[in-house]
Amino acid sequence: MSRVRIAQLSCGPEYSGVQKEIDEAAAAVDAEIFFPDLKLADIRHSFDEFGLDVRSPDLKLAIARAKALVEGRVEADAVFIATCFRCAEAAIVRNELRRYIHENSRLPVVSYSFTERTTAGTLLTRMEALTTIARRRALLAREEQQGLTMGVDSGSSTTKAVVMRDNEIIGTGWLPTTAVLQSADEAVAQALSAAGVTREDLEAIGTTGYGRFLVGDHLKADLVQEELTVNSKGAVFLADTQRGPSTVIDIGGMDNKAISVQDGIPGTFTMGGICAGASGRFLEMTSKRLGVDITELGPLAMKGLSRKVPMNSYCIVFGTQSLVNALAAGSSPEDVAAAACHSVAEQVFEQQLQEVDIKDPVIMVGGTSLIQGLVRAMEDLLQTEIVVPHHSQYIGAVGSALLASGFIKGD
């Protein structure tokens, strides 16, 4: 497949001044945005048939376009649904269309609510994931890692590297991200040393995370891939749930991902990160304020009761204020740690998990999945048992190493 055609279903982007940004993000991943061509008459009857009685004509148009895509009257490779942030009517339509397309077609869908500040850079990872799912279905269907490969995840907080041989992890490297390339080199050196192999032995390399392009170029990677598809793949591989539905939650240092996966391939996903109160960064700040290492925060939280401390803020500054107030009022570090975990889980639950269909097994990955208090808080909110696979903190690197094996010569 050459140029991926993404059908845009939207309300308001051109009057928000962000249509250009959407077009640019798509062009950056060799995709093109198009608006399914409909007749005015189609709007009237498609909208009536769909049965969601909205008032805005552009939302009616979006509904009619979704029906045309699902019914095969218009062909597309993927769907991008975008509406104005803070519009309740549009939020309802966005959610229902995403669900409708996901349930009635094989088209990958991503939905997004924009403001006038939305940039092509913000949309890039989402567009990249959309086009990957459309373009590389065969690669994403890979269930086994073969040969000797390495994956590097250059994340916003930490850099991870994993060396795999014949479906087994044989070496890992991990360190906080400082200078992107130096951190990557160090993580790679750690992983290679642990695996007892050299760079020259490697048959393929994959990179992911925020620094994927820079690091990919530096390491001459065979696969440079955004973290949504890579993490999905890594999660179902490590959790041994490659077939059927699953839900992947990754609470990262800078943004969070919630991905609804079917047979190892993402169907719908959300990626959030405007509010730091819902990120791993808040837990880092909490552990610093409590004077414990981040690795001790989870066990500490398991001993506390979150409901004893009021803490529920989108914002990292207000969240920290609640934290300081609670400590000043005599709350125990255990209760504060539990409240911080609950607060992050609740923000992710409220802001993101409403936009994907939660299907068991729910797999939590990324560094924050090692904080037991956070996993427990999420289990309480979702009322389900969460799977945290081994090596979950290396998820992006594992997914990269697994997918990179599709690039081994002769494969």
Partner: protein, 149 residues
């Protein structure tokens, strides 16, 4: 000659009628075509920049969606300049259409708040109503400053 604000602002027919009866239409006359190949039903022909939603803050607060504020940056000044207005309710899409219901509510409210002469009409459903519709618009326009007696 009076400046007459039109709703839907995209209506070519309405804009033409106002001009024919000797007044200045305040509108964004744009043909809503039978086939829609743009992002919205009344996508602007020119690229609106992220500055427009900021200008729209004059008419709608920051918690109002950016699409509403972007539209208001175009229509807000027209409403302020208007000496009269014609509002057609429940118009057919082909007559003229505006994509966002929230903007439509705000526009109608701001027009009514101005205390200028306003003609409120339902969109005609048959030929007879169509004739009455045009007659009502003509009669309204004739009463305005500079209209034909």
């Amino acid at each position: 000659m009076a400046k007459v604000f039109l709703y839907p602002t995209t209506s070519l027919i309405l804009s033409d009628l106002v001009a024919r009866f000797g007044h200045t239409p305040l509108s964004a006359a744009l043909q809503v075509r039978e086939r829609i190949q743009t992002a919205g039903l009344e996508s602007p022909p020119l690229q609106i920049t992220p500055e427009e939603p900021k200008k729209g803050l004059r008419w709608a607060a920051v918690e109002v969606p950016s699409g509403v504020r972007g539209r208001m940056s175009l229509y807000g000044p027209m409403i302020e300049a208007a000496e009269a207005a014609i509002i057609i309710n429940n118009a057919d899409y082909s007559f003229g259409c505006m994509g966002c219901a929230r903007t439509n509510e705000l526009i109608k409210y701001l027009v009514r708040k101005r205390n200028i002469p306003v003609l409120d009409l339902e969109y005609p459903q048959n030929e007879e109503e169509g004739v009455e519709f045009v007659a009502a618009i003509k009669q309204f326009l004739d009463t305005l400053k500079g209209g034909s007696p």
